[in-house]
């Protein structure tokens, strides 16, 4: 059973959310394509090589990046490595339990990873120390601290911002001066859920709990789509899928310009 959906929503709230959506508004007064307030704190963990704490509404996700040296994968001897992990820490929700990552945490990590990896966000070619032997391995660890819906976007955003302020610790490894992690592109993920016949972006917990289907679309600044994940047991129509992709391009641009470039 899904940890994300075990939370119970009362029938009254459920009906109320649905009725409001039919009138074009949401429980917290947002429009269908409006995000909650996004707050960013970069370098929240100075001991990490890069980090960011992101709040979307009351959802809080902390991402810490550590960069270590290690052997390359045999099939990519001339590329550095990105490894993304997610932990749904029990303090983030009464429905999260301690233990190794479950299927939700794995899906979360893999969807965030695909957006970053396929968007060619990190210039992995510049992370080779010695061809075939030694490369920099970038570990992005996603720590969910408070779960009030939409972990996909909060985790993607926190990972992107953490990577942007990551310094490769060359000095600590006797390999010259530290340098900024080489970044080529800015990837942004936008998640939509379907409630009844309505589709809303950035679902809060109540909305997520009554949603029948979810879709996450990851785009870069050139308007290209690099990762899509449809989630939950429900379905989308052809038009709904195309509309969410179109919205993601527009909303992604807004977040890229107003949140990510605004953190400096």
């Amino acid at each position: 059973m899904s940890k994300f959906t075990e939370n119970v929503v009362s029938e009254i709230t459920k009906d109320y959310i649905k009725k409001l959506l039919e009138k074009g508004t949401r429980l917290d007064g947002r429009t269908a394509d409006e995000y909650r307030k996004i707050e960013v704190q970069r370098n929240f963990i100075p001991r990490a090589d890069g980090s960011a704490l992101v709040k979307i509404g009351k959802t809080q996700v902390l991402v810490g990046v550590k960069v270590e040296k290690g052997p390359p994968f045999p099939d990519t001897p001339n590329l550095g490595i990105l490894a993304t992990n997610a932990e749904l820490v029990p303090l983030a929700s009464p429905t999260f339990e301690p233990g190794p990552p479950g299927e939700e945490a794995i899906e979360l990590a893999r969807v965030v990873d695909r957006g970053i990896r396929e968007g060619k966000v990190i210039d992995l070619e510049k992370l080779v120390i010695k061809e075939n032997e030694l490369v920099w391995v970038v570990f992005a660890d996603i720590h969910v601290l408070d779960y009030d819906g939409n972990l996909f976007d909060a985790s993607s955003l926190a990972t992107m911002i953490a990577l942007l302020n990551t310094k490769v610790p060359a000095k600590r490894n006797d390999l010259g001066e530290d340098f900024n992690l080489p970044i080529n592109h800015i990837a942004v993920a936008n998640t939509f859920v379907k409630i009844g016949d309505n589709i809303v972006v950035d679902p809060n917990l109540d909305e997520e709990n009554i949603a029948t289907a979810r879709i996450t679309v990851s785009t870069t600044e050139d308007g290209k789509v690099h990762a899509i994940q449809k989630g939950l047991e429900g379905s989308f129509t052809y038009e709904e899928i195309l509309n969410t992709i179109d919205s993601a391009k527009r909303i992604g641009k807004d977040i890229r310009e107003n949140i990510i470039s605004g953190v400096d």
Binding site: M1, D75, T76, E103, I106, E107, A109, R110, R114, E118, I215, G223, K224, V225, H226, A227, I228, Q229, K230, G231, L232, E233, G234, S235, F236, T237, Y238, I241, L242, I245, D246, K249
Partner: protein
């Protein structure tokens, strides 16, 4: 997408792909229903060079007990690759990829099974990839959907799907292994054929809006063809049981 670079030309001047197919051509698909003795339902699929078996057990008692749902059955699909199914031996057991694929396949199947008819039970679906050649999640899902029907579990419809991808800047249907390894994008799609609702949809790689739209159209058309093959497989099983001649 592994993003590996290749010297192989994946599409030649006449528009033919490395295995001779056109951009909108699927690999040959063969499905057989009811191939296992002990399972409640089963199916074997050959999709290009993919060879996959799916088996269904249940509705049956659910373990561990605490995951039972008093309002409906819990459908649990497990996607597993045999160690020998790929070029380099795969370490047996679940990895992160197979956990994710199991989840998206479970979700897709749950959308068509009347789970509410069997509260507090489990419907277990096991998908074993014996030989992998790209497109295993959709081929496995296809076999699983036939196996569920073979088990006699009430369903709204079968699930049918097909992946599309991008190879040398061209949107092509049903990637094979080389195209998957060296191509630019992969987009698996699965639908409820009767209503055209999309129940599995993933993408990774590099595509723009128009390419996704074209790809989605191709995948929807191909899914309808897969649907016909699925229904044929189920019919053939009963023709055989009745002692009649199947179309084969």
């Amino acid at each position: 997408m592994s993003g590996m670079k290749s010297d192989v030309k994946l599409i030649d001047e006449s528009g033919k792909r490395i295995d001779g197919r056109l951009f909108n051509e699927m690999r040959p698909i063969k499905i057989e229903a009811g191939i296992l003795e002990r399972a409640d339902g089963s199916a074997y699929i050959e999709w290009g060079n993919n060879k996959i078996i799916a088996a269904v057990f249940g509705p049956r008692e659910i373990y561990p007990k605490h995951i039972q749902d008093p309002s409906k059955a819990v459908l649990r699909a497990r996607y597993n690759m045999a160690a020998f199914s790929v070029d380099e031996r795969k370490k047996p057991g679940p990895d992160r990829r197979s956990v994710e694929l199991s989840l998206v396949i479970s979700n897709a199947l749950s959308s068509v099974v009347f789970l509410e008819q069997y509260p507090r039970t489990a419907i277990d679906v096991f998908i074993e990839v014996l030989q992998a050649d790209a497109g295993t999640r959709i081929a496995g899902l296809t076999a699983a959907s036939v196996a569920l029907a073979d088990a006699g579990i009430p369903m709204k419809d079968l699930i049918a799907g097909c992946a599309v991808g991008k190879v040398e800047n061209t949107i092509v249907l049903d990637l094979n292994k080389d195209e998957d390894n060296y191509g630019q994008a992969d987009m698996p799609v699965a639908i409820i054929p009767r209503t055209k609702e999309i129940v599995l949809f993933q993408m990774d790689g590099d595509m723009d809006y128009q390419e996704i739209k074209n790809g989605l159209n191709m995948a929807l058309d191909a899914s309808m063809k897969v649907y016909e093959i699925e229904k044929e497989a189920l019919k053939n099983k009963y023709i055989k049981l009745a002692g009649g001649d199947s179309d084969e």
